[in-house]
Point group: C2
Chain length 333, copies 2
């Protein structure tokens, strides 16, 4: 188990999206965060108090969490200076990067010398099975996106929170580093060996009560050529009963792929639903979640209204408005 | 490099399909095979002379190749007795199983003591990049199947051979253990970490001459819930210009999934082509390859003719008839 509370390390994040891990922890477990640590040139800010290591120590922080995701997951030398100092000051470190803390010789040596722990939450700790495709009891909901990083995890966390607030049976099933750092457990899907991806999702969402819903954290997008295989494994391993379409309307192109335009919500629906029905013929698209963080209130509301009308599906921004509309749609299935 | 020639180890294969690795090497590199080794109860036969270890040694074999693929890739104790004896008699071992030879303590110890080599061709030896989706020069052809193990690799190998026979520029790009054992190089795609799958396919099929064709070995099926994510990564990482639809018409259900029916060729076309066009808008379905090994000659020919007429696409069994019809279709693009 990772000791709380956390100091969130934002490093030299080039933009807000790069710090989405930190942002997720701040939004969903604020009680676990004492502050943020930003290096010179950091362009991200998750709205916590800026703290030095010693200030965070004095405030009770136990673990420095690397809350910034770099493309390819490289731990830079500039970060190392801070992370080594953190170990020496008595913090544990936690990270969801591909490039493991434990594989960095300097960090491993200092952690050993100081008796501190290195938590690499991205490393699968389970030998996952190959998917068998057998129908499982209980219900499952999966958010699929027009792109990566459009709010799929937030949608699932908000739906889970809304169902729990109503006293309904619900679990958030984490499949990425942020989700795992938020909930303390899950499958680090993008680090799973290809053949076992769908099986790891089956493992994560086992048989359950007939009226229990798993909210499976989505990953990537069927339309994002770098990660579409991971999305496919979620759709077939998760055998969802319900899909939520997730979108961010101000994105100029697919994240990290300047040559690729985002698909329409119609194209996403028409692509994802037939694929989902291979594993679960009863699957339905039940609603749309839009990340309207790029819009002001009026613009957001009119976009949501127009989208709901155009698509004929309940549409909301679950972070701005709560997820009750989407949960109502699930319960009406 | 793996020393040739090989003795092909079929173990206690429960059926012919389980020995498809051995069969592939026998069919495409017969000059590298001195014989086959079968244990009691073995239900597979690749048509080579049955040999004991000492007979194979006398015939010049240098490496015992594990030519049998088990679900999940387990190296059983019954196999171990033979493999240990092989090392002791001076053979190297090569395998494409998930369960690595090097991770079996007894095999590793005997290999060390005897100075023999253990080749695990399934282990990626390269740090693959994340896919960037950028358009590459040269042409690429990918076979996609209605199911796993329907003849995608054979189709690509046959098309590569036909193009080379015509003096055209062509490469077979191996993505599985059999292909790698056949060609000596490639990407063991089903053992690649999820986030790097599409990138490994880009790496495998780099920029090339405008008139050069890569024939990319297919894996899994978009309709096979255990492995569809791997297929998706091939479609987006490979950015194929041409798709071949591959089918085996006598299969009662999806391989290993009794509850799942095979899709029609129409459903495969309508699912795969729009997904391929995300990465390459110019992609076309150019032909159909049918594995007619379950049919006699007349039945095979009439099935092929009826399918060609129904689908309006050049259709053949590349193993029975050669791949010239499919290559003609490629060249007409």
């Amino acid at each position: 188990m990772i000791e709380t509370p956390y100091l969130l390390f934002l490093g030299d994040a080039p933009d807000q999206l790069a710090a989405k891990v930190a942002r997720g922890i701040r939004d969903w477990r604020p009680e676990n965060c004492v502050g943020q640590f930003r290096m010179e040139g950091c362009k991200a800010d998750v709205g916590l108090r800026d703290m030095s290591l010693s200030e965070a120590k004095a405030a009770g922080a136990k673990t420095v969490v690397v809350g910034v995701a770099n493309r390819g997951g490289v731990i830079s030398q500039a970060w190392k200076r801070v992370l080594v100092e953190a170990l020496e000051e008595g913090f544990d470190l936690a990270s969801g990067l591909h490039n493991l803390l434990r594989d960095e010789e300097d960090l491993a040596a200092v952690a050993k010398a100081t008796g501190r722990k290195l938590h690499d939450v991205r490393v699968p700790s389970v030998k996952y099975p190959i998917a068998n495709g057998e129908k499982r009891s209980g219900k499952r909901c999966l958010a699929v996106g027009t792109d990566c990083s459009v709010g799929k995890m937030y949608t699932s966390l908000a739906m889970d929170r809304d169902m729990k607030d109503r006293g309904l049976k619900s679990s958030f099933r984490a499949t990425g580093q942020t989700g795992i750092l938020v909930t303390g457990e899950g499958v680090p899907l993008d680090a799973v060996i290809a053949d076992f991806m769908a099986g790891s999702v089956e493992w994560l969402t086992p048989d359950n009560d007939d009226d229990h819903w798993d909210h499976i954290e989505g990953q990537g997008s069927l339309f994002h050529v770098s990660y579409s295989g991971v999305t496919m494994a979620l759709i077939h391993g998760g055998q969802p009963d319900a899909l939520i379409l997730s979108h961010e309307p101000t994105r100029p192109h697919m994240r990290g792929l300047p040559g690729y335009q985002l698909p329409s919500l119609e194209a996403l629906r028409d692509t994802a639903l037939p694929l989902a029905r291979i594993a679960n013929p009863a699957c339905q698209v039940v609603g749309i979640s839009v990340n309207t963080s790029g819009y002001g209130e009026d613009e957001a509301l009119s976009y949501l209204e127009a989208t709901e009308k155009r698509m004929g599906l309940p549409t909301c921004d679950p972070f701005r408005q709560g997820a009750h509309k989407l949960v109502d749609a699930l319960l009406a299935l």
